[in-house]
Symmetry: C2
Subunit: 96 residues, 2 copies
């Protein structure tokens, strides 16, 4: 499944900056950052549950906002990008 | 169609701040802000072309990034939100 994770973490407090780093770290473990607070992930449903669980433990639900968009298995075909590319395509061949 | 628009507009320069406001203004005309730079829109394909055209005239493609995610007609069912709600649901009944 192609899942998009977008988030707004309030960085007014020091704790907020810490939460922001943690959320980004979790998302980096499972997906590809395409914009500042937008990650694209290719995950199965079990992994998606793990991601959600980890993130919900980190955020402050009274201050932060996390959104998950499930674009299905053909999600890649439903994305259009204009402008500066942030990094490589999550499904592209990675030559190491 | 349920279309998600996410954007990163570089605000290093004064021009960037102006572009950011313009992009947000265009998105507000067609959809609902759900996070700082994330908008959910219910649009038909003709309207979507209009939105894209207006936005591409405003941004600096060498500095800014715009992503369009087409979640189809049942897009609303593919969204999960955790945390603070930014505002009303784009498909909710609006009582005036």
């Amino acid at each position: 499944m192609f899942v998009l994770i977008t988030y707004d973490v309030s960085t007014q407090s020091e704790g907020g900056k810490k939460r922001l780093r943690k959320v980004a770290k979790i998302c980096e473990n499972y997906g590809q950052r395409v914009q500042n607070s937008v990650f694209e992930c290719i995950v199965d449903s079990v992994t998606l549950c793990k991601v959600k669980e980890q993130i919900s433990k980190v955020i402050d639900a009274k201050e932060d906002s996390i959104r998950y968009y499930n674009l299905g298995n053909k999600g890649r075909t439903k994305v259009e990008h204009i402008g500066i590319e942030s990094s490589f395509d999550v499904e592209d061949v990675l030559i190491i």
